[in-house]
């Protein structure tokens, strides 16, 4: 079998605050293969952005990172700053949620898109400009010559995100991480941007890690999806399997809370309860307090995360063959 492009294993991230460390990620495992598109889903605060920023080593200075993130065989967490800089923007690039704040207000759009080219490729100014104009056309921007000279505040939200995409694409990276790339946009524009991203990813055979809390987006964009809850991945599978045969009660809850257009509104049921705070993580399974199937064991002991078949991995006691205990479920 092919080797993964990105292989995150047992990634732990904690943040120092008031002298103590709070765990934001407690052992995340995730692999992405070349050219593959993987979704990372979960409620707000579960650690999706922290995961993506750990890959790029862009977490704030108060973060402590442990574990392994291997990319193309190199452990990113042990690279020197200089080597890491070579990877950023060249092999891995990022698309952020808010293009307005993620792009520099005082640098011309063309120069910003050209920055990764300037940093990673030995090109003349003219060559960079030609490439940037191509990129602008590639992301569907009409009048590239004009836009090249403009500033980010002069564009609409959708156009801004196209600019971000052009910048991320500049060096044809092997992996693009898109952290909720369309959350800040209008619904109609969202679809266009996702289409664009999907097409570019396919055409250039890039891997994509798409972070979102919109499961609708997942089924359209990705082949595989990982579901995250409170700093851990609780289930991972192909998108088809995940939607048709979800195993973890949290995944089931998420799927049944997707609003369906076909008049099924009354069956929409949000998961009761809230995501636990970093300072108050449940001892056993983190989802147990909200889980309708929770058993005695769930409250005391954390289930390990393991493959249950070729496609699916899950971290839940219910998948351990002790189905007989279901009768003693507490809630």
């Amino acid at each position: 079998m092919e080797k993964p492009l990105l292989d995150i294993s047992n990634l732990k991230v904690s943040f120092k605050s008031d002298g103590t460390y709070l765990n934001a990620l407690s052992g995340v495992n995730l692999s992405i293969y070349p050219g593959e598109s993987v979704a990372l889903v979960g409620e707000s605060g579960c650690g999706k952005s922290v995961t993506s920023l750990s890959i790029m080593r862009l977490l704030k200075a108060n973060a402590k990172v442990e574990g392994q993130i291997s990319f193309n065989g190199k452990n990113l967490l042990s690279l020197g700053t200089k080597e890491m800089r070579k990877i950023r923007g060249q092999d891995v690039s990022m698309i952020f949620q808010e293009p307005m704040s993620a792009l520099n207000p005082v640098i011309r759009i063309g120069d910003q898109i050209g920055e990764p080219l300037f940093l990673h490729e030995k090109l003349t100014k003219r060559q960079i400009k030609t490439r940037v104009l191509e990129l602008l056309r590639l992301v569907g921007i009409a009048r590239p010559e004009e836009i090249y000279r403009e500033y980010i505040h002069q564009l609409s939200g959708g156009m801004r995100q196209r600019v971000m995409i052009a910048m991320a694409m500049a060096c044809k990276p092997k992996l693009i991480i898109a952290d909720e790339p369309t959350t800040a946009l209008d619904v109609t524009v969202q679809a266009q941007i996702l289409d664009l991203l999907r097409n570019l990813q396919k055409e250039n055979n890039m891997a994509l890690l798409l972070i979102t809390h919109d499961l609708g987006v997942v089924s359209e964009m990705c082949e595989r999806a990982a579901v995250m809850y409170a700093g851990k991945i609780v289930e991972e599978s192909t998108v088809d399997t995940l939607f048709n045969d979800p195993r973890h009660p949290y995944t089931k809850g998420l799927i049944s809370s997707i609003p369906k257009l076909e008049g099924e509104r009354n069956r929409l049921k949000p998961i009761p309860g809230n995501v636990p705070s970093l300072a108050n993580m449940p001892q056993g399974c983190r989802f147990a307090p909200r889980c309708e199937f929770a058993m005695e064991q769930c409250i005391h002991q954390e289930p390990s995360y393991m493959a249950i078949n070729k496609k699916t991995s899950v971290g839940c006691w219910l998948e351990r063959g002790n189905n007989d205990d279901r009768s003693t479920a507490t809630s």
Binding site: L58, F96, N104, P105, V106, E115, P116, L119, Y151
Partner: protein, 306 residues
């Protein structure tokens, strides 16, 4: 752009009219009788009235104001009671000296303050920051006159390297501009540090890192222009105030500038000179305000002129 300029110039003109009214009122409100200053304490009441009449000071206030404005429009700032010279002559003689001192002091402030601000922001909460920030706090709390005296005593008097005071040579300029600059630099340092730290926490800085830029490049190419904006505003106002005369520094170093002139004119109740120095300061502020706005436009494309 042209329309904007016309509007700004018109606006500046109105502000200046307002200032001329205020300076006029100041002159009016000054305690003591300017006629007495001219004729002396022993003159008889008849002579006083006579002089008052020839000076036009017995006319209604508004007539006096308009004649003042009229003279102003013709570049006539009146006659110094004390120095017995046309005020324009006095002012132009000293304005050059003050401008040179102000500019060099300002340059010292900026040359020390901005890099210090950058360094303390880049090394925030590290040892470099603690040392430099402490120095800056010492700088900001030094009284100007004390630093000036200290320089005079140690460098001019004891070491005999530089002149004690006066003007006319570059050597005369070094200590006064260092005095001005060291005290003022600390403010730039704080301003730049605060705003750079703010800039460093922005998303576009994270984007710059995500593209693989080095810290140096992130600081200068992606951060500096955004971070220096508050310092530009302040620098504009700062030079305006300095141009209006640096009273303490000029007095300590016996430097013949506007500040010293203003000081003397107040001591001697030399009303035309008081009015002229106030007016000059105001003009400096108005002009610099204008220049800062234009600079803003050049630095920050989000500000559009129209």
């Amino acid at each position: 752009m042209a329309a904007y300029l016309v509007r700004r110039i018109l606006g500046a003109f109105i502000v200046l009219i307002g200032i001329s009214i205020i300076t006029f009122i100041i002159a009016y409100a000054v305690p003591g009788d300017p006629v007495r200053t001219v004729v002396g304490e022993k003159a008889s009441p008849e002579v006083v009235e006579q002089v008052r009449h020839t000076m036009g000071l017995d006319r209604p206030v508004y007539v006096q104001y308009f004649s003042y404005l009229n003279r102003l429009a013709h570049g006539d700032l009146g006659f110094s009671y004390y120095n017995n010279q046309p005020v324009t002559h006095l002012i132009s003689e000293r304005f050059g000296a003050t401008a040179v001192l102000a500019l060099s002091g300002w340059a010292v402030e900026i040359i020390i303050g901005i890099p210090l601000g950058l360094l303390t922001a880049v090394y925030n909460r590290k040892i470099t920051d603690y040392i430099l920030s402490s120095l800056a706090i010492i700088g900001i709390s030094l009284p100007t006159f004390w630093l000036g005296m200290w320089f005079i005593y140690n460098i001019s008097y004891k070491m005999g390297i530089l002149p004690i005071g006066g003007s006319g040579d570059i050597k005369n300029l070094i200590l006064p501009s260092l005095t001005l600059g060291i005290v003022g630099a600390a403010y730039y340092q704080r301003l730049v540090k605060t705003s750079m730290l703010e800039v460093f926490s922005q998303d576009y800085i994270r984007t710059a890192h995500a593209n693989g830029a080095s810290s140096l490049r992130v600081t200068f190419r992606h951060g500096f222009r955004n971070g220096v904006i508050p310092a530009v505003t302040y620098a504009g106002m700062d030079i305006a105030f300095l141009m209006g005369g640096v009273v303490i520094t000029e007095t300590v170093f016996n430097y013949p500038g506007i500040g010293q002139l203003a000081m003397q004119s107040i001591q001697h109740l030399d009303v035309p000179v008081i009015m002229a120095t106030v007016l000059l300061s105001a003009i400096c502020v108005v002009v610099m305000n204008f220049i800062v706005d234009i600079l803003y436009f050049l630095i920050d494309p989000r500000i559009s002129i129209s």
